[in-house]
Symmetry: C2
Subunit: 455 residues, 2 copies
């Protein structure tokens, strides 16, 4: 048996050359996006005013298993990828567990997270189409930062709508985006019609990803030469993020490691969907029987307490309807510090897989997540993002179960990013001022009433 | 000729097993530390109340070329090392230069810089000696963060005195240190005698590394079971940091790359001294003829405008005298944003080498540094620390000279850290509110008057 190093790196020529489209192997395909007016499946031409052409093809393609990574994107990947698969030797020791813990660390780039994997792909296709710029929303700011890097690289203009609570909690994110030449507006804003309406209906709102999406889409469709791009939820994003899982698979095989449990945090599903892609494939095809676990915040529990239904993707109801686990598009989550996990819905692909019993989900409260984050930081020397720390919390829980049962399971989790811009949250945690916001059943019933009636 | 990947990584078994002590190969050894009272060379026993025993041996040893890296330290290194040597393909393209540019990137760890290389070594020796804790100063906060990680790993208490201007510019650094369990006090403070005196003499001072060192030393010598540790300037620190240069040397040899110019930013000399160690050895031994270039801020120009003389290492004049290029121990630099380069003196080893003509130095103004930083960030996708950006600025200047002359030189520079905690500075730069503070000749003459008279 080969000795496992602390960090398993792939060489450049071991890096995946194509993204993997999990939908191609799904027995039940994810439900199609619907036109919000006609409730008919959206055709490519209907999506064209909003999205880039080639990204629409990727979005709608449920059959092609592999999409070659364009050379320009691949060269950019080589600047910060492959990311390491790390053996958490120190954490294992601190937990005194027989479990073997690995994490795929996506934080070693200036955007601080895995978001760059899709940002650079989307910017590339926008440039290829001859666009002048793109608009987007950002929650925690990781997606906005990543996209600003990507747009700067390809010389595209970028307008970012940033969820107001994150804009205020993370002032420095704005400066990183400015370093890369992006403009950043706190959402909801007075710069769009939908923003004005949301502010009128919900004075003092701290915003949500749903609001910010609506504003970004409005600007994209009303500005010539612009399109809207999105950092999560969509199939195309999961496609690009499959690079995480593919690299993980290669790294594990290199050392003959077979995982028992694969764990990822879940907001819109980009990190989780990317990480699990090849493992889910093997599970669907009956080649392996991994446990796959999604971890979400108790304050925004789409999988564990949401409904599997068609819903609006955004608060302004301008986007196509998507069938997903959702808390309702007018659910505005409490200001949990994991801004990247504050979306009311979930990837349609992951929703279908969860519905079909291929994966489990668990919701965890915020203070427990920060306890796990601090423990991890002290052992492994990486300050994790609050979002990623949801996966850490679940991984530690599983490792502690192994300690009780004496089982030596192999746990792989996604460490999707770093927490350098989350220190307001860490400060609250250190000062004992952090709350655990959990919506009541009444809160959810109220927001479920806003679900559209789809036959 | 082998194709050069974007990032050259070493495998774990290629990592250096010993640190290299450049002093062993120097023809003229650095001048000894002197007792500030008697002006006689400091003996190990005189240093023992302040420093850890084994570190004193390393400090005073001018003969032993290699010190094995202890296993505990080596295992910690494996969590974040080897660091990549990156080929700056995108920067080269943006500059349209025939130069080949490489950078050794030390920022991919939570402390955000190379400081962790020595922090973990120093914490290890403190633990081995059975100490309860250590004290230190920190400028930009990178050393304090690194040491907090190291002390947390080995279960040592840590008291940090942080230069007030950095404490205020970088509030989040404090939270990272708290995450790792350290206490952080802005310096000068009312908690020490020397701090009270400095505050009385200079009301409203924004502090300096020299002040903070005095406070940390005072607490160390007056608290049982504590010693003082330092992140730069000292020989022991350069010894530990040689891991940067050694890895760089191995990575270059792996691809048959021979550098022409080696560039590092210089504050106290830890990054520069570590990076150049094996290259300077070859130069001293006549085996190679590299150009070696130190880059310092125009606001704190020890090499380029300082005197080569014995001086106090700290403002409070409690530390041994060191012969170095110095601006005078009561020189308090203007609040330049490269907090890690605001020390009045320079490593005695590097000072001797500079004095003997083995290296060059250049001073650059702050706004030029930030222009280079932004250009670099947009090309290479890494947000650099202001300190490290001094090296970027010089590397770009050298690459542009190559464009003029048509020479295809190979430039290697040290990218010592990331700028995630420097966004107040980036904001000022973006808003056009950044000043270039440059001391006048009168300022320097005034501070030179404080130099001690040593025969």
């Amino acid at each position: 048996m080969k000795e496992i190093p602390y960090k398993i790196y792939l060489s450049e020529d071991e890096m995946p050359k194509a993204w993997y489209n999990l939908r191609a192997d799904m027995k039940t395909k994810p439900a199609p996006l619907l036109n919000p007016g006609t409730h008919q499946p959206m055709a490519a031409e209907e999506l064209a005013p909003v999205f880039c052409e080639e990204l629409i093809q990727q979005e709608l393609d449920n059959d092609t298993p592999y999409f070659p990574i364009p050379e320009e994107v691949y060269n950019f990947y080589k600047m910060y990828r492959p990311s390491p698969l790390v053996r958490a030797y120190c954490l294992e020791k601190a937990l005194d567990t027989p479990a073997k813990i690995y994490y795929k660390f996506e934080g070693n780039n200036t955007s601080g997270s895995h978001k760059l994997n899709s940002a650079i792909a989307q910017a590339y296709y926008a440039k290829k189409q001859g666009l002048k710029g793109v608009t987007t929303e950002t929650g925690a700011g990781q997606w906005g930062t990543a996209l600003s890097m990507a747009c700067s690289y390809f010389g595209l203009d970028l307008k970012v709508f940033m969820v107001k609570v994150s804009y205020e909690q993370k002032p420095f994110r704005r400066e990183v985006m400015r370093t890369y030449g992006a403009s950043v507006t706190p959402s909801p804003s007075e710069t769009t019609n939908i923003g004005k309406k949301i502010l009128a209906d919900h004075p003092g709102t701290t915003g949500s990803l749903g609001c910010a999406i609506s504003e970004a889409v409005e600007v994209a469709v009303s500005t010539p030469g612009y399109r809207y791009v999105l950092g999560s939820v969509l199939n195309q994003v999961l496609l690009h993020q499959s690079v995480i899982g593919l690299e993980t698979e290669i790294a594990l095989k290199k050392y003959d490691i077979v995982p028992d449990i694969i764990i990822g945090c879940a907001g819109g599903g980009s990190n989780l969907g990317g990480l699990i892609a090849p493992f889910m494939r093997d599970k669907i095809l009956g080649k392996a029987d991994y446990r796959i676990l999604a971890v979400e915040p108790a304050s925004c529990p789409s999988f564990t307490r949401g409904k599997y239904a068609y819903d609006f993707a955004d608060t302004g109801m301008v986007c196509p309807l998507a069938k997903m686990y959702t808390l309702g598009s007018n659910f505005i989550p409490a200001p949990n510090h994991a801004g990247g996990l504050r979306y009311h819905g979930m990837s349609t692909t992951l929703s279908q897989l969860y519905h079909d019993g291929y994966m489990e989900a668990v919701a965890v409260p915020q203070t427990e997540v920060f306890k796990a984050a601090e423990k991890f930081a002290r052992c492994e020397g990486i300050l994790p993002a609050p979002e990623s720390s949801h996966a850490i919390k679940a991984a530690i829980d599983e490792a502690e179960k192994c300690k009780e049962t004496g089982e030596s399971k192999t746990i792989v989790f996604g460490l999707s990013g770093t927490g350098y811009f989350d220190l307001v949250a860490y400060e609250k945690f250190h000062d004992g001022k952090m709350d655990d916001y959990i919506p009541t059943d009444e809160d959810l019933e109220r927001s479920f009433k806003g679900l559209p009636q789809v036959e």
